[in-house]
Amino acid sequence: MTLSDALAHHVHDGNCVALEGFTHLIPFAAGHELIRQGRRDLHLVRMTPDLIYDQMIGMGCARRLTFSWGGNPGVGSLHRLRDAIEHAWPHALELDEHSHAGMAAAYTAGASGLPFGVLRGYQGCDLPQHNPRIASVTCPYSGERLATVPALRPDVTILHAQVADAQGNVSLHGIVGAQREAALAARTVIVTVEQRVESLPPAMNQIVLPHWIVNAIVHCPLGAWPSYAQGHYDRDNAFYLNWDAVSRDRQKFLRWMQDNILSSANHAEMMHRVARERAA
């Protein structure tokens, strides 16, 4: 199955979609393909929106964003995210804003089939005043009040991983963020992978997503670039640094998206285009 087919089949306008990956294994190729397919009104969910959501938001795919830290890691702002919040460009964006601990608890609740997550969180923080979804419960034993977050249950979770086997089991390692919880919380799971093998070795206590929770697997080498896939390629930090200048200006951003993403038929073509631009 091609990435294009998988996303056209499983992701629809208006869906709640989580493309997870904490700095590592971010499913960029899938995000780019959603941009090419012109998806609209998405409720995007990600702890760290990163460049992929900056691009999707700037291209008008998103209606709502659930997140906990919206910056360019180590660089500064996500200018397209800022432009959406500060100036409603290209249109307004609803925010459902949390802390990392809150989102981790919300994904865990979703993965566990619970309607809410409990944490000692948000104490002394103004977020609960602006986000009515952050509530509280009273401990039936101690009487303490603890913060709650509603479970996250994405319509679709999209991940990138290192390897899948013929049966559709997916193995990932390294920094794994809340990916496993995001997958187990979702109604539909799509995974792009660096590599396909006939069968995985017994994994013992390592991280595997079993074939019966994964709806589609697409072989997509470099599918996490410019983030990285541990054991396959490093993070392209230079791209992240350079994104600041590209994204700061609306026209420059639109031109970059046109020249690199929209003009490419698929991920492989885009990678070649980026390589030519870099060599120039």
Binding site: G74, Q123, D126, G177, L241
Partner: protein, 267 residues
């Protein structure tokens, strides 16, 4: 050796850490200070990055909080839900290291928005791990440059709680750690005054004056009775820091060739 105010700040921050401390590390200045400490006087410092890497010993500073080197040099890696629940929330972190765009006199921090939350003048990245780091670490260290725009009379948004309104209010709100015990700026170090918990200038860097410090704060800065002057960076501290930053900058700016050959494995 001559040095910059930024270098002094990072070195002063590193000196606050004791060998064996378990630190929850944010990106940027905190990461530089923690790794400098590990490479100088505190080789057994345990660094936990919020990306879930535990006991990390990177050779260079990561650009992001989740670079591959953090996983490769870690004792082990856990998931985000685990690092926040089993380590931070469970009270297993000695020191949480924070930065921010704004701080008030009680060490409360803003990293969310300048202006109104719904219609911000400048939208900042947001909370990340900060609210719960500030609540649960046994103590927090804050590293921030001081100027009247960052050190403000009133925050536009309180992202994480320091001493709240001071005078013990923190303890009544369920923030279990001892709060911002040390604030390291580019002029000197602040610590909470007993009782009021208002931050006061406690140590000043060599060559800086109290007047300079007062001018850098947006509130009337209190100065401790026994204000001390911190020792200048040693040659070893400076050399270690500069070598670390040189290695890091080279790595960050390196335009690695795209591994396009990997595409050939695709049908």
């Amino acid at each position: 050796m001559s040095y910059t105010a930024d270098e002094m700040m990072t070195i002063a921050a590193a000196r606050q850490l004791r060998n064996g401390d378990v630190c929850f590390v944010g990106i940027g200045l905190p990461g530089a200070a923690c790794n400098l400490a590990r490479m100088t006087h505190a080789p057994d410092l345990v660094l936990i990055y919020e990306s879930g890497t535990v006991g990390t010993r990177p050779e260079r500073l990561p650009l992001s909080i989740g670079d591959g080197e953090l996983a490769q040099t870690a004792a082990y890696v856990v998931s985000l839900p685990e690092v926040f629940a089993y380590y931070l929330q469970a009270g297993r972190v000695d020191i949480g290291f924070l930065g921010a765009a704004q701080m008030d006199r009680f060490g409360n921090l803003n990293s969310t928005a300048i202006g109104d939350y719904a219609q911000p003048h400048t939208r900042l990245p947001g909370a990340g791990g900060a609210p719960e780091i500030a609540a649960h670490a046994a103590q927090t260290f804050v590293v921030m440059k001081a100027n009247p725009r960052s050190m403000v009379e009133a925050l536009d948004f309180r992202t994480s709680g320091g001493f709240l309104e001071g005078h013990g209010t923190r303890q009544t709100q369920g923030l279990r750690g001892a709060g911002p015990q040390v604030v390291i700026t580019d002029i000197g170090i602040l610590r909470p005054a007993p009782g009021s918990q208002e931050l006061q200038l406690h140590e000043i860097y060599p060559g800086a004056s109290v007047e300079q410090a007062r001018a850098a704060f947006g509130w009337p800065l209190q100065v401790a009775n026994a204000l001390q002057t911190l020792g200048a960076p040693s040659a070893r501290e400076l050399e270690t820091l500069r070598a670390l930053q040189r290695r890091s900058a080279i790595a960050h700016l390196h335009r690695q060739p795209l591994p396009l050959h990997l595409l050939d494995t695709c049908p």
